[in-house]
Subunit: 345 residues, 4 copies
Amino acid sequence: VRFASDNRPGVAPEVLDAITDEAARFGDAYDEGELPRRLDAALSELFEHETYAFPVLTGTAANSISLAALCDPWGAVLCSPFAHVLIDECGAPEFFGGGLRLVPLPGPLTTLDLAEIQAIIDGSATYDVHHMALQALTVTNLDELGGAIRPDRMAALGEVAKERGLALHLDGARFANAVAATGASPAELTWRAGVEIMSFGGTKNGALMAEAVVVFDRARAERIARLRKRSGHLFSKMRFVTVQLLAQLRDGRWLDRAAHANAMARRLADGLGVRPPDGNELFVTISSATSATWSAEGVEFYDTPLTGTETRIARLVTTWATTPEDVDEFVRIAHEQTPGGWEKS
Amino acid sequence: VRFASDNRPGVAPEVLDAITDEAARFGDAYDEGELPRRLDAALSELFEHETYAFPVLTGTAANSISLAALCDPWGAVLCSPFAHVLIDECGAPEFFGGGLRLVPLPGPLTTLDLAEIQAIIDGSATYDVHHMALQALTVTNLDELGGAIRPDRMAALGEVAKERGLALHLDGARFANAVAATGASPAELTWRAGVEIMSFGGTKNGALMAEAVVVFDRARAERIARLRKRSGHLFSKMRFVTVQLLAQLRDGRWLDRAAHANAMARRLADGLGVRPPDGNELFVTISSATSATWSAEGVEFYDTPLTGTETRIARLVTTWATTPEDVDEFVRIAHEQTPGGWEKS
Amino acid sequence: VRFASDNRPGVAPEVLDAITDEAARFGDAYDEGELPRRLDAALSELFEHETYAFPVLTGTAANSISLAALCDPWGAVLCSPFAHVLIDECGAPEFFGGGLRLVPLPGPLTTLDLAEIQAIIDGSATYDVHHMALQALTVTNLDELGGAIRPDRMAALGEVAKERGLALHLDGARFANAVAATGASPAELTWRAGVEIMSFGGTKNGALMAEAVVVFDRARAERIARLRKRSGHLFSKMRFVTVQLLAQLRDGRWLDRAAHANAMARRLADGLGVRPPDGNELFVTISSATSATWSAEGVEFYDTPLTGTETRIARLVTTWATTPEDVDEFVRIAHEQTPGGWEKS
Amino acid sequence: VRFASDNRPGVAPEVLDAITDEAARFGDAYDEGELPRRLDAALSELFEHETYAFPVLTGTAANSISLAALCDPWGAVLCSPFAHVLIDECGAPEFFGGGLRLVPLPGPLTTLDLAEIQAIIDGSATYDVHHMALQALTVTNLDELGGAIRPDRMAALGEVAKERGLALHLDGARFANAVAATGASPAELTWRAGVEIMSFGGTKNGALMAEAVVVFDRARAERIARLRKRSGHLFSKMRFVTVQLLAQLRDGRWLDRAAHANAMARRLADGLGVRPPDGNELFVTISSATSATWSAEGVEFYDTPLTGTETRIARLVTTWATTPEDVDEFVRIAHEQTPGGWEKS
């Protein structure tokens, strides 16, 4: 049973159908013609605001183009100490941004005390030429520990950013799961809270490959378009990315897929008797023995040792493709093979 | 009828089948597991040499990563004055390469006098710190005017490069068409001629999205892998790119597809009574009136005015998806609607 | 006798005096306090316009910061095929500019047909995302062949740039010689002609080390200040650069020094019976034998072979430190040792 | 009385004399001729090892070129949380290094537990393509709090770096003060301890402008030379920098100057009754009232508030130009005007 990552399943049927339809057709090259306009229209409706999408081919690109569009090369970006852009992208933001800097805060943006964030900004904000200029704050929703940021928290972060003159970026690789988890509208979690630019994720939610840089102000278009082209993310058959996003957005399928993944994670938590997660990622404290047994039983998952202990933190990710049977099978394995092998809450 | 570009058709059936198969499966993330090894094995057999492939998502990325892997930021790359890397990639090589420079030669690499190339290299090669260091030569095959470079010419260019200490890069966006056109082996057109790194194109030959940086020496792997990740071209579902390339390589389908496209271009030339092209691009000199008529008749193609004249150069591109009926329909239109409207040879 | 370069003499007395005075003093660090304001005031008076100077430590830095301040990383800069920024700075503009591109015109900006420049701009100006964006034109005065550009030509170049939306940059490493040669005002040769940013050279005119990025619009200050700091050109004892520039500007000494250098070059031309140059660089066509004899006689100069001939082009540079005796000694050597060994005009 | 910074005094007489001598002379351009060889020889003797110096114009450049020479763009550099490269250079290392990253350790390298450094390296060292590659460790001596690092500590840091495959860089802006403070040989504090590249500071020690990138292995020369030229730090009258460094090194003047500055700081500490510093920087805890009084009395110094208190940390810097009378005058002011206004130790 597979709980390693939401980039492991294949492609959701509605997306594959859209690709298959398009595959039989001649069409426009690059990001031209009718399809981009249809995507912008669909997103504008979803976000209840004029919205412009720049499809790209990976989340790394979406995040890095976004930050490079917001910052000068001498700009600094505040982020969570666990942010994907900081840890898992081999310095892509620095590369796209001409040597900008990511500055980790002392804790996750989901829970860090707002006054502490303000104090850090104020302390860094000696805006003279010897120091990098704080220019942006990047937030991830779902966050890096699987938590959903709710509209009031987003608005509060947006307020801090705005007061201090920082642009607010949202890494939305799992934005669909966050919307499903919070019941908030996409607008509440983005532009209404002050988000100027976001990475809108499709790949983890069933697309073959579909991410987009999304902005709410046309004035940002030129820089994004240039950054996208120069980094090789203006795909000649871009219509194949656009139709995936359109297929996901049609009739709310993107949200259904994410809601399903979230429900599977809750089912998993129920089965294990642990606190249910907001989204589709469940973190469980297990013993090394449990870890070994689960792996031996064919459970696919990642875990990380807690330094200096025999304890490990397992991450179990559910997806649009996870079935109740998958969950139940795993729960059975856990109870039968590793009773008492994880921490209940 | 459609002759605008080989990035306009959809996806060849064997590629779509491979995607569809993979779509139903969980698999490895990024570029891990069995599939990359199978791709390297398939290419090693094709090239008759140990070969390592780094799939990427666009030709822009393939070319730019290749040049950045070969050069220092203070390196200069000789290229054709019509090279795609020079003209059509918005400076992507400069971006990936930290500010390297492309230096256009006075004519196409396919036909430019070798002694002239040598003289230019010798003239530039004042290797002191005030001048950029000539470090690479990039060649495109099919070239930018649709011509195929034959093994003896490639070998001669490789010889010039080697004597002067330049690395040789091949932009193979239409490499399949070049192999089909020349009847040469992939080896003869690459490493045997001194090519150290190439962009191996799949997208124009029927893939949805599949390009690869291909090298013949494992020592180059680390830089390429880093450049690929940092530029956002390490796709989390990379197996979907790999299976496309594998599907194209299986049973020589990649070559059949290209041979078909080339044959359609020759049929087009025959029908128009002009000199047949090497590959799948036919350039025809037409009048402005002809251009207008063809467009009015629904022919999709690009043309460029010859400065200061009423004459235009039309580019007609055939593809794996072009049918003999498409060609014949176009030929009929040309003869019936624009008799005498193009230059015969 | 020394005619190799104007970076070979030492330091003019007024500059050395200023350094010596300042050396005995404590002062402000970096670019603060009273001195920068005095420099801006002196230049504002000189240029008859509000003027802001950013002293830097080399001409390479002045030019590269200027171009990077004008252009995006995807910007292209038109230049002379002989431009110092293109040939002699190891790609520094590309480095400072995040991968911008220098595009050589087919001839020197001093003499190239304006209509040809316009046509080239119009031909390149397919302002779509696949192509780099033409954003600036850089001109050198004195130019690379020692010629002075007169106000009407500067204005014409500025007009072309403005019509096409390009910013105009002036490399003024020998701006003093150009002002002295033309008798024009600094204003006529710069902002009145449309120059937005210039490199104002002091080092070749007697300074120890003093160059400045000069702008006529305060809105450009932030980018320049950041680029200067990040590239290591915000010197902690910057006041020692500022006092050099102030010493040069005082009582028109900068212009006297340049006028002297120019006069020495004319004296040289007279002595040799060749056409007098505009500024302080005399190019003379000589035989290889002449070249060898001059060197043997201790004349310091550079020459370049004309490819495929026994003829060479000698560059003889006069400076603020060149004496009439130096010139006469050289003329004597030439006439006595190499009669008929150079081309008269 | 002036204790604000060691970049505030003018130029030491031996340095000014050297400049004045050279100012009267024609000489070689850039970094050529006899002088660079003499500098390398002088440094080789000083360091008891083959040594190659690349004079540059600022410490920002020296440090940034050094780190860029050691690292790939995807490299990370461990540093102190107070490192000048991290805090005060506006991201210059990121710029020179094509987007490398500085990673602050949890405490100063002078005192941080070695096992903690090792653990952090081991924890970061998941050397896969998703993470930046730890490639260097940078140490400052004198450190950022004025402390001298002794040979055994340097050797221990070098050992950690070597075991983990990191290159060791030394920021030696106040290296002379560190040598004077420790009584160690330059060799012990550099290559014998594993330092591969260092910034050798002259400007704070009495030079007008003289810093150098210093390496102990000729193989590093090419990259450094290219980075220096491309960043505009290959000064056309470089001989004026070289003669400053030669003047400082002659007869141990560089060390005498630093020893004097250190002695003045000890005298200051004695006068105030606080613990004497290693080098030329004294940090004293004062009240806000004391700070205001000292300023009012004309004492030039910097201080920083301790967040949330009325207490401030004053930094008093002595220099080659500080006299015993300056110190005594300040001590008198302190005792008379602000009795009990600072913390004794």
